[in-house]
Subunit: 144 residues, 2 copies
């Protein structure tokens, strides 16, 4: 399940480039990283992946970005080649709020409001079922 | 311009309910709040709007969410009625990274990576031209 395109979960040993493509395609605030038992571990946000795509010296001094020809995307992609999801994660795991499958939309909204997270992982027996985003939740709460 | 549906900018005196609908529709991490001269002031994230949509006692104790019938979305909407964007913003303004219109995609990526922001406002002469999201940027950088 974690490997399916379209599903917002990835594993620690998934290929970094494949995962980056999925993140771009899904337009989510981040992907959920799960273990081999499909239990959520943390979130991998787009801004974190950008840290690996962009050479370190450009991060430290954005003015240096001009010395790289951005049409050479293959050189950027090379920064992700051979890497795994585990390599992309920050040293300190980002917290990921969890909701139960039988929680109401309001309970999830309250959790999201309290944690200020744009994304909540929904689990059943500790295993990931899916994600809820703040915009998806607003849509649902306003539609009723 | 700030009032156009589809454009990710709102003004301090825009109606809170209209703005929430736009946020849900655009699926962005947040909307850009601009002043009357279209200069970016801050970001209004979805999780912040949820804080107003959800009654305070439910935020403090999500278990209480069950006592509210979520099919009664009109009661939730009532929490936003008569409010303006200015009422929704937190006491401490959230920081919003700014990029210049002539910055390269790589420069914006470096800014986003450094600030860990999912969203950067692009300005020209201090006025908002549009926003760049981390997923939009990943898409562009990988496509070349």
């Amino acid at each position: 399940m974690a490997g399916e395109a379209g599903f917002p979960a990835v594993r620690l040993d998934d290929d970094a480039l494949d995962v980056t493509r999925r993140l771009a395609e899904l337009h989510l605030p981040g992907l959920i990283v799960v273990d081999d038992e499909n239990r959520p571990l943390t979130i991998l946000p787009g801004s974190q992946v950008l840290r690996f795509l962009i050479p370190r010296y450009v991060q430290d001094d954005p003015a240096l970005a001009r010395v790289i020809d951005e049409s050479h995307a293959d050189r950027l992609r090379a920064n992700l080649e051979g890497r795994r999801v585990a390599d992309l994660l920050p040293a300190e795991k980002l917290p990921l709020p969890l909701a139960d499958a039988d929680d109401t939309a309001l309970e999830i909204a309250a959790l999201m409001a309290r944690t200020r997270s744009p994304l909540v992982a929904v689990v059943e027996d500790g295993r990931l079922l899916g994600v809820v985003t703040s915009t998806g939740l607003l849509e649902r709460l306003l539609a009723g």
